[in-house]
């Protein structure tokens, strides 16, 4: 009973941890726009939290520079389950325009598993909200099926993940 309450609370009010892995800042300021009056994402219960220990969703901007790669993995490992990852923009998917540069890993899913990619350079705030809502849907599906294992059988999951 309490389990269901916790799942419902988590779905209704996702706490977000933002991690900049060496981004140009465009994605970051569009995320920040979400907190401001025009988009006002707090009404969806979304709050930005500073520490991994309280976060449900890790939102990562940037192509992952070599400097940030280990730190990103560590932050991810510090988050308790169930945890979800959103990779922002073209950089999040493949390193974007920075792919192949000498100080860049090139794509968030080379470092941590990703649940949702939000396309754009940068994605618009409404597209970012869409990404968060998709994660919430995933949270519900996972909750109903007792965890994430059911996703392994999905073809998209198998081909998309590189970790």
């Amino acid at each position: 009973m309490f389990e269901r309450l916790v799942r419902w609370a988590r779905r209704k009010s996702p706490w977000i941890l933002l991690f900049n892995s060496g981004a140009c800042n465009a994605c970051d300021i569009e995320i920040l726009s979400l907190l401001t009056p025009r988009f006002d994402v707090e009404r969806l219960g979304v709050l930005a939290k500073g520490t991994p220990r309280h976060a449900d969703i890790l939102v990562i901007t940037g192509p992952v520079t070599l400097k940030q790669s280990e730190r990103l993995r560590r932050i991810y490992d510090q988050m308790p389950d169930p945890k979800y990852v959103i990779a922002m923009g073209a950089c999040g998917a493949s390193g974007g325009i920075f792919e192949g540069l000498y100080h860049v890993v090139g794509g968030v899913d080379k470092v941590v598993p990703v649940d949702v990619w939000v396309a754009g350079c940068p994605p618009r705030p409404d597209e970012i909200v869409d990404g968060i809502l998709k994660v919430q849907q995933l949270m519900e599906e996972d909750a109903k099926r007792g965890g994430r294992e059911w996703r392994r059988g999905q073809p998209v999951y198998a081909t998309a993940q590189r970790t």
Partner: protein, 169 residues
């Protein structure tokens, strides 16, 4: 505490030719190949041993108090450091110092332009040029795991490992 608009101007006249004359008069031949390359743009060369003296003279006698930038360059046969000084009238004076590839060393100019502190560290990271007498010669841009002796902006540097899988240079 005052704040307010400065004078309005509609484009300064190009004083670069005047500056060439002043430089020749006051510094003699200290700057070689001194020439105007574009509106408000001057260029010249300086031997490595003379950088501190020349830059000090430019700062104190010619009013070039702002070091806009400091660039490393790989020209193939040689490496080079280029100092970009802001002179009056919006002029930029770019002074090139040529350095041998196998032993690229020259004096640090941080004593004359403290601003050079971070710029020299960057050039060392990217080209391996050594600025003698730099007060704090630590890496600036490359992360702690970056292998020593790998200078990525050199033309003959080849990427390897995970960062090189798709490298286009």
């Amino acid at each position: 505490m005052a704040a307010g608009p400065a004078r309005v101007r509609h484009g300064p006249e190009d004083v670069a030719p005047e500056i060439v004359r002043e430089l020749s008069e006051r510094l003699g031949g200290a700057i070689a190949e001194l020439r105007q390359t574009a509106p408000r743009r001057l260029a010249g060369t300086v031997p490595a041993d003379d950088v501190r003296t020349v830059l000090r003279a430019l700062r104190d006698d010619l009013g070039c108090r702002h070091l806009s930038a400091l660039s490393g360059v790989d020209r193939g046969a040689t490496l080079a450091v280029v100092y970009h000084l802001a002179a009056r009238g919006g002029t930029v004076l770019s002074l090139t110092v040529s350095l041998p590839r196998d032993a690229p060393r020259l004096p640090s100019v941080t004593e004359v332009f403290p601003a050079a502190n971070l710029y020299e560290r960057e050039v060392h990271d990217l080209f391996g040029i050594v600025f003698e007498g730099h007060p704090d010669p630590r890496p600036l841009l490359l992360y702690e795991g970056w292998p020593e002796g790998e200078f990525p902006l050199r033309k003959d540097w080849k990427p390897r490992g995970r960062e090189g899988t798709n490298a286009r240079g």
